[in-house]
């Protein structure tokens, strides 16, 4: 690389960018600490009733108790396992279905109304049926998770496949590509950015599926813990579980993000 001498304005510009970044980071941390501080303060002076609103210190204590009893890890592991498995199954199956629907226009026409209905249907309505069919527990939760994620995966991926420029397909055809080659050399790589955004959407949706599934019927997991806590009126447990969900969902999202950097639009 050739070394280029930039003007002073460039240095000023860079400095400004850096300053902006630092400022945003500062305020992010500030909001977090202020939120915790006000929450703690209000609950200790009695503005908020800690019985209903818990408090950061009570959450920390609950966390410690759960951790020392060893139950915490079981709940975290159960939810994480259900979510990740449901997420992967939904992505793989959803993409395969999208490929099939792309492949055959007739198939696409036949299934279009069903897809629309399934997409609009609140999947939670199927909950009792799922429990009856697969039994309560981990299996039912994973099925719920898959149901919530799969339709949107199929619809988004199909949309991406179809959005590929017609001239690019013509180009492939003019080079005598067969349909497999068009799929693997053009359609799939073309749809990679959309695939990554589907992954990101599904991180959120798969946690919805897991918590819903665990509400319905389960013996472990963070959704179970929330349900249990609210029934026993132990809102510390509820709040603690919500905090854990935030951390886990955020972590999963961060795992997907590097992909986006690696394959930019």
């Amino acid at each position: 690389m050739k070394k280029i001498n930039y003007s002073k304005a460039h240095a000023r510009y860079l400095k400004k960018l850096k300053k902006e970044k630092a400022l945003v980071a500062f305020w992010q941390i500030f909001v977090f600490i202020a939120f915790l501080g006000i929450w703690e303060l209000f609950s200790s002076v009695g503005v908020l009733d800690p019985f209903f609103f818990s408090s950061p210190s009570r959450i920390a204590t609950t966390l410690a108790t759960l951790a020392s009893s060893g139950n915490l890890w079981i709940h975290i592991w159960t939810s994480l396992y259900e979510t990740v498995l449901g997420f992967i199954i939904a992505i793989v199956l959803g993409t395969i279905i999208a490929i099939l629907l792309w492949w055959s226009e007739r198939l696409r026409k036949i299934f279009e109304p069903y897809l629309i209905i399934l997409n609009s249907l609140p999947k939670i309505a199927l909950g009792p049926l799922i429990v009856l069919w697969v039994g309560s527990g981990t299996g039912a939760t994973i099925v719920m998770c898959v149901l919530i994620c799969i339709i949107i995966t199929t619809m988004s991926m199909l949309g991406a496949f179809i959005s590929c420029e017609q001239d690019k397909i013509m180009l492939m055809k003019s080079m005598h590509a067969n349909k497999f080659q068009i799929l693997f050399k053009l359609i799939l790589p073309h749809s990679l950015p959309e695939f990554i955004s589907v992954l990101k959407i599904n991180v959120g949706l798969s946690w919805v599926g897991t918590v819903m599934g665990e509400y319905l019927s389960s013996k472990a997991g963070l959704g179970y813990l929330i349900n249990y806590g609210s029934q026993m009126l132990q809102l510390d447990i509820v709040m603690t579980s919500i905090v854990l969900l935030c951390v886990l969902a955020g972590g999963m999202y961060l795992c997907v993000c590097p992909l986006e950097k690696r394959y930019p639009k």
Partner: protein, 251 residues
């Protein structure tokens, strides 16, 4: 001159639910070997349909199309197609883009074909960009890459579908010269579709003027401008006169 591409009374109808669109009406023309011909006509007259027919992407409703005396088949490897935009695949490097056709036709191990690709890249100043991604290249360079991608399969006839329309005017003149030079160097026959009259005039040996839909041949103009490049041909004293003639024919 020997007829290389020949249209014999070709008609084409597009089918829609409501009606039928008569796109081409008993179209007949021919192009000689190594000749550069342009198709001009009012917009929507079916120019792209003609290219699709030659490329075998559509088949004629009536009449026949001969290439080198033989009927055109589907997937005819004697034909290369260049599109309006460069249609380079952003996720592939320049080299991978150029060898896309070889990859599709499972010729990626053919040393001779690969050597030809390398040679074309070197000859047309793109070798240093071999491992770059398309977005790192300028519009003109991208268009050259698109042309080399087409040439890599060694077609005898090149179909150019308004290949410069996405470029700004200055780049366009330059790329016009480049593409012209490459096509003449490689001794290819070319059929260009354009709505830009001066582009057609400056590049071609022959301009085929089409009527509005259903398209038929209105007039064929043989050109003989002085100058070795399209840009120089634009300076010929008869250039303006011919321009007017085509313009009147189109309106």
């Amino acid at each position: 001159m020997e007829k290389f591409l020949e249209f014999k009374d070709v008609s084409y109808f597009y089918q829609t639910k409501e009606s039928e669109i008569h796109a081409l009406d008993r179209l007949s023309f021919d192009i000689g070997s190594c000749e550069f011909a342009s198709l001009v006509g009012p917009s929507g007259c079916g120019k792209t349909t003609i290219l699709s027919l030659v490329a075998g992407l559509l088949s004629a409703s009536e009449g026949e199309i001969l290439l080198d005396g033989k009927k055109i088949e589907k997937n005819d490897s004697r034909i290369g197609y260049m599109f309006q935009r460069d249609q380079l695949f952003e996720w592939r490097t320049i080299w991978q883009n150029i060898t896309l056709g070889l990859e599709i036709q499972k010729k990626k191990k053919d040393e001779k074909m690969l050597a030809l690709c390398e040679e074309l890249l070197k000859k047309y100043d793109l070798y240093n960009f071999k491992n770059k991604k398309p977005r790192q290249l300028s519009g003109g360079m991208r268009q050259r890459v698109a042309l080399i991608r087409t040439l890599a399969l060694q077609p005898q006839l090149l179909l150019l579908d308004e290949p410069f329309s996405a470029l700004d005017f200055q780049t366009r003149l330059k790329v016009c010269d480049d593409v012209f030079e490459i096509i003449k160097n490689e001794k290819k026959t070319a059929l260009l579709v354009t709505h830009d009259i001066s582009e057609a005039l400056s590049m071609s040996d022959k301009v085929i003027i089409l009527s509005s839909r259903p398209a038929s041949v209105k007039e064929v103009m043989k050109l003989n401008f002085e100058g070795s490049t399209p840009l120089k041909k634009r300076e010929d004293k008869d250039f303006g006169k011919n321009f007017d003639k085509i313009w009147r024919n189109l309106t």
